[in-house]
Assembly symmetry: D2
Homo-oligomer: 301 residues x 4
């Protein structure tokens, strides 16, 4: 995937809110508000009308950003952040109360900062196969399925193609798609959790439009959950240079052999590990409404 | 999956051949023959009629078993075994000459002896995403897609459900399904490669019929490729005890907490690693008819 | 390593106790007793004199075996088993109250049932590098170092050679050596934790005596902690056959290419993962005497 | 480790050569020359005298840098680059012709760009344990041992402490230390192989001097081999800003929670995988003088 492209699509409610707040009067068709969830700052932006779309360059929908003051490392911090994720999903209001749900882990498991989605599926309380038995004690569980859909380079298929097929077979009432993002600003890396009900476009190739994952393409609501794990190196440098008033700088070094370069914290391996656990626990708690985060924790390794 | 069940379904052409050869005259509706492929002994059994089905307890179809004298370790041994796999697929005669093909890696990647299928997809020359570009130099490549479909315990879905959905979306002309098997006899473990055009049933749960992968369920030809990587421990012991004339032995220890026990070589990690490379190279060579094993080797890591 | 050899050396206090209990009067020079630790059955055997050595075929020393009724999976079960491990180490009485300790993870990380030792080092609260700073708040911490010493096949060195060198450099007051064992009886696999103050011999090659890890070779007390993770397949079968009164059975199949075969539960990957966490937490709690298991848990990932 | 520190120590013969070449007349006490090895550009700088030390800020010794025009991906490219590495070691002239050698893989295996050293030990032809047998056919082999010495954060020991102990025990005639480096210039990342006979300091903590690995501390010659795998993000930005004439820019964002940020190619996982294979093959070929790269390749997986 090109992280560059992802920046354009990033669900940065915070930037949207700042953009709208910059105006003397509120932007028409846009509602922005700040609050807290379990002590974490939350920004909510609702784009309500075509006017709002035009003003902010984003489609109608709800965009939430939760800010983590620091990386959750200890167990209680992880559980608290997971409670925040579950509460974001509840506040979004898109998830149907019952019915099977498919959670898709997007991205490439073998590239550390891109492994957030696949790793989140490892920490999910997956139940669909259990709910198909006749065991009465399981009758209250919501059927949850999970798939790390892979990337075109290793499967030969867009993740959208794989998911479209699976959605047809198992007919979930909602898709929750988890992906690593690229941030424009370094301080957001591994410190913001972004949720939206507008769907997501998993990466993109050169001149090769990807299949979007949204209600239009899949026929069901799509909730996108992302955490930025990198800053695109060229973006970072351009921003630095522009801030310094410099133009016409040669950034060709970033294009060696068509390679992308990214800026990431040295501890990205453990940050992705911890954050995927936060997301897995949080999403599971939102999906299994009778379970607390502690209940979910018991069942996942 | 229960390995026990897999034994019943194992593609042991060799046993079938021995069974049929045990008769004074050839079994009706069964054709069995021995030959060699690139120096490896090959057994071919064709079950031709319902009479043959009844005699051998297997459905009509072709069953091939290639025997490796020892584990291929050095590069040239690996390439030679891969040539054998490619030749088996050609001899089977089921693979259409052109058209997209989906290769499914069945089994659980995180359980060493069950990881053969998923690891084989790592060594495949996957091309479907390339052939959709307009690059003329790639126009001769067959589109190949690959999916490690996961197991119900981690995805909540039968691999058959996942694959049925993907087959609908990408419409391959054939499915090649790779899976680890359980052998009845220890000497076959990691030393026989079994190919059939009868499809495969990926594992099975207790009282929970799995979706078979075959022409009936998917609408396209299904080629199954398997290598036994374990012997079920209870089976091994029962065989030993029966051979010794002992009955009524207590094998309850093998049922602790519903757990299965298996017998596997100590070096199973490296054996599965090497054999999945043999399969990946061999299948890729069979699929990309203009490529030699060496050509394929250049492109996979 | 040959698991076969390990059986002979296994720290099976329980068998020792049974052997001594089989006598009309207690064996001379042997003391055996049963108790419980945190609800887990504990067997303690003290071999006190050369007479006891001769009677049981084991050197003078203390041998403890803790039995787990089932695999600890949930967090609270893991913490409780870790408390049991810490209490075993306290009861053994060998660990000096203060001073640096080296924990060695023996075995081959890339072979699942042999990875117990290396994986235990991943769950240890390692502090030696912190205690060398001048930070006063850390002054109460015991310096703990950890090393997964590798195996001769990948390092070219016996783990005893590596550890002897490191012991000379960092001069610990005690070595704690963790290793996977082979059980003679299947029900002990992954269900008994064995501790002794007699040291350990890490595996052995053909005609190639290994360096023992004990007070004689290293000059410091050596505490061995092991959990059986396999049954040697030939042993299991011989035991079954002998139990059935069969002799002269051909077990040559177990010697293919000099390979060893073992019998292991299908879920060995997750069992080793969970048990190494139990050991890491338990050993850390025993070493850092002011810390509870919960304190340790906070600091390890 | 702090990559920043490593830059200062990086074996950048090329920069040294440029520095010395920038003078009207050659620097006193410095010899710099360009050549090629197996078609790869090679820079050699010899610092001969204290005057040379003072001029270039580096101790007396030989510094070689081999430049790879692109990442070696195909087998033949990998073998050719490995031949280049073997030839560099020969040209350096430090390796004794016979006698046991210890190869140390420095760095943290679980951090992708830092895993170069540990992964190189996976591709080495380790023989010391074989040469201790009485098998006559192995009598010509040089004894080679290998150790991934870990990092203080996970072992509690400096890698220098671990290696000092092991050197005492197995008494090699030379230590070859492999480490990932930080480059000052992006184009060198994963494209230069740097060799020196001046030893190496594995990383460094804040105010915490590390044990150098050199002849003074270990008593044997130390050959350092490194490949830069990252650019320190703050360095990159400072360089960009300075180049643009900007001063007093706030780089505090790079110091979040004491974290380091680095710039690395997106494909760093596969680049490190391929380059560690190049180093393992090349070092093995240099050590086993009767073996070609192809011979070594046969024996490593």
């Amino acid at each position: 995937m090109t992280y560059r492209r992802k920046i354009d699509l990033a669900l940065e409610a915070k930037e949207l809110a700042e953009a709208s707040a910059g105006e003397l009067s509120p932007l028409p068709g846009v509602k922005a508000e700040e609050s807290t969830l379990f002590g974490f700052p939350l920004t909510r932006v609702d784009i309500l009308t075509p006017e709002g779309e035009a003003a902010l360059g984003k489609p109608v929908g709800t965009y939430l950003t939760l800010t983590l003051p620091h990386l959750p490392r200890e167990r209680e911090e992880i559980l608290e952040a997971a409670r925040g994720v579950a509460a974001m999903l509840e506040q979004l209001g898109t998830l149907p109360e019952t019915g099977p749900v498919l959670v898709a882990g997007l991205g490439n498991r073998s590239i550390t900062p891109d492994a957030l989605g696949p790793k989140t599926t490892d920490s999910l309380l997956v139940t669909r196969h259990l709910t198909r038995t006749t065991e009465p004690s399981l009758s209250g569980l919501r059927p949850v399925a999970a798939l790390a859909a892979g990337v075109a380079g290793t499967t030969g298929m867009e993740s959208g193609e794989v998911l479209a097929g699976v959605v047809k077979t198992i007919q979930p009432v909602c898709l929750v798609a988890v992906d690593a993002l690229a941030a424009r600003q370094q301080e957001r890396v591994c410190r913001t959790i972004q949720v939206s009900n507008r769907g997501i476009v998993p990466g993109s190739g050169v001149g090769n439009a990807r299949l979007a994952l949204d209600r239009d393409t899949l026929g069901i609501p799509v909730i996108a959950i992302g955490i930025p794990t990198v800053v695109d190196a060229a973006t970072l440098c351009m921003d630095l240079l522009e801030a310094g008033g410099i133009q016409d700088f040669d950034l060709s070094v970033f294009r060696r052999e068509g390679a992308e370069w990214f800026v990431t914290p040295r501890s990205i391996d453990s940050e992705v590990q911890l954050l995927s656990r936060v997301l897995g626990l949080g999403i599971s708690t939102a999906l299994h409404v009778d379970f607390s985060v502690e209940d979910v924790e018991k069942w996942i390794s």
